[in-house]
Symmetry: C2
Subunit: 321 residues, 2 copies
DNA sequence: GCAGTGCCGGACAACGTTGTCAAAGCACTG
DNA sequence: CAGTGCTTTGACAACGTTGTCCGGCACTGC
């Protein structure tokens, strides 16, 4: 900038004014400055600007894994909203590791992101307290923060969705329904199990429940075990997209129970699988918009919108006549 | 930092030393400083540090769309390598828009990212010249840069893969094979068409080729048109993952040609679709590692690794006897 | 007790920008 | 032609850190 200033024969501040489109610069002077900028290939140093102004025009996004279609869709929506506000996105995957989540969040904070959107992996977010107190807004998505942290959250109606699917199965004549969920420590997994259990009532059977992270081996073993029971399940409700896909794979090529899943997935329509669909893009959009409202000064009490989910019947839950 | 210094009763610089783990601080002093840091909830302002040191420990990634599984996988790999080098990732989706690509890249540069990984959407990258000259290394992935820009590139063997699939189909008795590709302006689409055409030789028929971006309507229309020909295709080779999925959807429920696709996709195994698989994670990893080699001082000539692709036969290309 | 040696702590400048404030230039009025 | 008000420009400090350099202090060996 100094070089541009001397090249154009003006003061530093005048260059700054031109670069920022501030009023009060004579058009001829501005042209001279712009010419010098082009000639020297100058571009403003954003780090210095950030240091001076205090706003980074960057938000931090911590998700579980970008490669998971659900979080990829969510990411994309957050990015779009951020772009519309002239913000960039620093993002990182926690891999369901609380320590990594904490590290990412704190690194983002050290870089003075303007705000945070977090899909938490851990249960304790007290490490966020100083940052929140310092005025960095955060929005939790898909899962709530640990106790004592009262921030905005955007959740889906997990229990309701699970109940919806369960009732659908029952209505179609199923009475032995298995549930495959992720680790019970994961909020969504627990909520969905809860919805399943509640909707199933007296039909609920502990032996038809398996809560483990989605690996083909474990899913296959669980299904084998359940199918070997006296009264095997006629339907399986899977607690997230990955489990649905894994279960379908485990059951491929054999006559097994019908599969109904939480989360929609690519080609579910072709495979005719009934699902409870949530809208990851909407979740990301709602969270990002909430964050930007906070950034523009909204200091109301924490909000906790719950997004609806919808049953998409595709036949897989219907018992053959 | 100033507050911490006065709280601990030491000079600013001493705090800096403690924070950076520099030697030459008495352990007792260091403890006092650390206590003050904890008490005040201080965290280093990374922007100021960047301004002073010149390195941001951030790399910029421009892809086409995070929500596309191919780029999501690539992103994840880049992120892993970056994390291993203590770097964060600024990422953005260009949506196949050259102007947006340019904007993202230049914004990243203004923020002084240490390096760039770009899946280019445009054809002209002369805007990158000043940045490259200024010493910001860039690696192009999946598609090469426009003319005159000689940087590292990591590409897949697009033509070879397409030829592989085509020969597979021919070997299984197909002589009327259609090709559905993305816009011909997209490098990979053009290369794959080229491989297809070359491998097909005299069997190539212009009427069985459609190069359009993957929308269900256009794909359906193209297929309908082809299937209405005198000698309709017995197989369709789709030029990328999205087109494969779209074609499968367009053909769902009717007796149509066999579908073989470029790019693997979730559940391709269950659907029994033969594909030419590339490894997005590997592509991302190779690109990121190349970038970090540049960042650690490797100034050798630009490298252009070409990653192999592999045919995964799953039956969909075989003519019924 | 004194010079020499090492270690530790601190003052200061610099990174590149922007906000504040004051001054200079100019046209216009009375 | 002085006075007024507006526009345009510039000098300076500050943002929070780190690199450089220097001074003070304790410790050693005589």
């Amino acid at each position: 900038m100094k070089d541009v200033a001397s090249a154009a024969g003006v003061a530093l501040k005048t260059v700054s004014r031109v670069v920022n489109g501030e009023p009060g610069v004579h058009p001829a002077t501005a042209d001279r400055v712009r010419a010098a900028i082009d000639r020297l290939g100058y571009s403003r140093n954003e780090s210095a600007r950030v240091l001076r102004r205090g706003r980074t025009a960057t938000i931090g996004l911590v998700i579980e894994d970008v490669a998971d279609p659900f979080y990829a869709g969510l990411s994309r929506a957050v990015e779009s909203v951020a772009a519309a506000h002239g913000c960039l996105l620093l993002s990182g995957s926690s891999s369901e590791d609380a320590e990594r989540e904490r590290e990412l969040v704190l690194t983002f904070c050290a870089r003075r992101v303007d705000g945070l959107i977090v899909v938490p992996a851990g249960e304790d977010h007290s490490y966020l307290r100083p940052e929140l107190d310092a005025g960095t807004p955060a929005v939790f998505v898909d899962r709530p923060p640990g106790p004592g942290i009262d921030v905005d959250t955007v959740l889906a109606d997990n229990a309701g969705g699970a109940a919806l699917a369960t009732r659908h199965l029952v209505a179609h004549g199923h009475s032995r329904i298995a549930f495959l969920g992720d680790e019970p420590s994961i909020f969504t997994a627990a909520r969905r199990l809860h919805g399943f259990r509640t909707a199933l009532g007296h039909l609920y059977d502990e032996r038809l429940v398996c809560m483990r992270s989605p690996a083909l081996d474990t899913v296959r073993a669980a299904l084998d075990r359940m199918l070997a029971l006296d009264r095997p399940p006629t339907a399986v409700f899977t607690g997230n997209g990955r489990l649905t896909v894994t279960a379908l794979r485990a059951l491929a090529g054999r006559r097994g129970p019908a599969v109904v899943g939480f989360d929609d997935f690519e080609l579910s329509d072709l495979l005719g699988v009934t699902v409870v669909a949530q809208d990851p893009a909407r979740m990301g959009r709602v969270a990002a918009e909430l964050l930007f409202r906070r950034l523009s000064g909204d200091t109301g009490p924490a909000e906790h919108p719950v997004l609806p989910v919808g049953l998409v019947p595709r036949g897989s839950g219907e018992l053959p006549p």
